[in-house]
Amino acid sequence: MDRHQGKAVCEPLFVKLMRGIVPDALRLTTYWIGNSTAAEDIVQEAIAKAWIHHHRLPTIANPRAWFFTILRRECINYFRHRDRRLVAVDIDPSPPVSPPDAYDPYEAADLRIDIAALLRRLSPRDREMLAWRYGMDWSLEDIAESTGIPLSTVKSRIYRALKILRGRMNDAARSEP
């Protein structure tokens, strides 16, 4: 494939991939880092970096996983460098919570708990898995396929994140007056 043929083939492929993937990427990134404004920047950076290598698209077996790998790297970078940013990008304020449909004593208790604050205290990788599973509502198998992370690792990370979160929620509930 010469340069022009490659361009003719790869650009439409890239645009098609981005059209399908960017809404999910924005949602995931927003859920993961908790800030829609920063999420836009991160996704844009990921698109720019993906574009640099877009000529490889025809040879990539799973373009979706390829892009999400780039995006995940950008998100991890965001967490690494967040404290060094000149302009602090803080978490969006937690939205108001509506009452649950059915009475659940545990849920009634944790309504008083700011879940956004608890999520912020999780490690980025734990937050990522919760964002995939409960934000995007993807199956474990779909997460494994899109991230390229082994299924067993996905399971164990979600289990660990839930366990930590649950423990902190219990601590917070006990400390409530």
């Binding site: 960017v22 809404p23 949602r27 844009q44 720019a48 969006d92 545990y106 839930l162």
Partner: protein, 348 residues
């Protein structure tokens, strides 16, 4: 998935709570309404300036998709563009006529310039953006001020990724305080998510006070730029040899506003070659683009940029037909170096 044997907060409750939390992050009704209104607005909206890119259009599309369950369409604010493309723009035509710059008049007359009506007032001076145009070869801004004129060293134009476009040329009518500034082109991939541009002017000069009466201020405006019409880039890498000098037509781009040719030479252009000169003035390479059939008239060359062994030519846009690009002379060596090429029907 393994389960904790003795949870105080049930797994189901925690999972439900997490889902609820994430849904609320993007489905605030007020925010959705705001984005819908923005996406349907007939005129580009001035947003508060930001250092980094904010892509409300993409998020608007995303949130609208979430809210309606409809398939995503990743094309920000097409309504605004359709409106812009069909809107009458007499003021821009007036500017182009007054300044008489080849290429710009025809561009404005073709209706390809996106009308804008953005204004920022600082220190008693208002700067307005009346229109903008971007394609694969250049970006143009049509401006108006109440006092002073923009100077190339005080004006910056950036896209949402922080790429700074190079200001290359400006033409200004000091009586009407209107004119335009030409910048380099945006990178092509910026158009995939949609381009957002920010103009910043840090000072305005005055022709009446050439010693530097400057209106100080910080005028800044941001807008979504309409996507460019189709352009075509061809990279023939075609060589022509004469008198031992090889010139190569590396690439040319045919855009609605201009045709741009990139040439390179085996011998850099030298202003001080020792060869005897007939003319007293400094030698200039001569470039001609002629249509083969029809009138055979030369296509006006709008600008020549000569840097060592590289030349960039910008000519008026080319209609379909057969053409010949000729370099008449290079370092006093008479050519000609010629490259025939064809602009096919319908493209760009």
């Amino acid at each position: 998935m393994p389960r904790d044997r003795n949870p105080s907060v049930s797994d189901e409750s925690l999972e439900r709570r997490l889902r609820h939390h994430y849904q609320n992050m993007l489905q605030s009704p007020a925010l959705v309404d705001q984005w819908i209104a923005e996406a349907q607005a007939p005129n580009p909206v001035v947003r508060p300036s930001r250092h980094r890119w904010r892509a409300p259009a993409i998020v608007a599309a995303s949130v609208l998709g979430l809210a309606t369950g409809a398939a995503m369409h990743w094309a920000p604010r097409t309504d605004a563009w359709v409106w812009a493309a069909t809107h009458d723009i007499p003021i821009l035509q007036g500017i182009a006529r007054q300044l008489g710059v080849p290429g710009v008049s025809s561009l404005v007359a073709s209706g390809n310039v996106m009308p804008l009506n953005l204004a920022d007032r600082q220190s008693g001076v208002t700067v307005k953006i009346l229109g903008s145009y971007a394609d694969a070869v250049q970006t143009l801004l049509f401006l108006q001020t109440t006092h002073g004129s923009p100077t190339l060293d005080q004006i910056t134009l950036e896209d949402q990724l922080g790429h700074r476009l190079q200001p290359e040329f400006s033409a200004w009518n000091s009586q009407t305080h209107q004119g335009f500034v030409q910048f380099s082109a945006l990178p092509s991939w910026v158009w995939i998510p949609g381009a957002q541009l920010t103009l910043t002017i840090n000072g305005l000069g005055s022709l009446r006070h050439p010693l530097g009466a400057i209106y100080q201020g910080h005028w800044q405006m941001t807008w979504d730029q309409a996507p460019p019409a189709a352009a075509r880039t061809v990279s023939p890498d075609a060589r022509a040899v004469a008198h031992g000098v090889t010139l190569t037509l590396q690439q040319y781009t045919l855009a609605p506003s201009a045709a741009v040719f990139h040439l390179s030479a085996s011998v850099p252009w030298a202003h001080n070659v020792s060869k005897p000169r007939k003319q007293k003035t400094a030698p200039q390479p001569q470039f001609i683009i002629k249509r083969v059939h029809g009138s055979g008239a030369a296509i006006p060359i709008l600008s020549e940029s000569l840097g060592g062994a590289h030349v960039t030519l910008m000519a008026e846009p080319l209609q379909p037909g057969r053409y010949i690009l000729t370099v008449v002379e290079w370092n006093h060596e008479p050519g000609p170096w010629t490259w025939p090429f064809t602009v096919s029907q319908g493209r760009p």
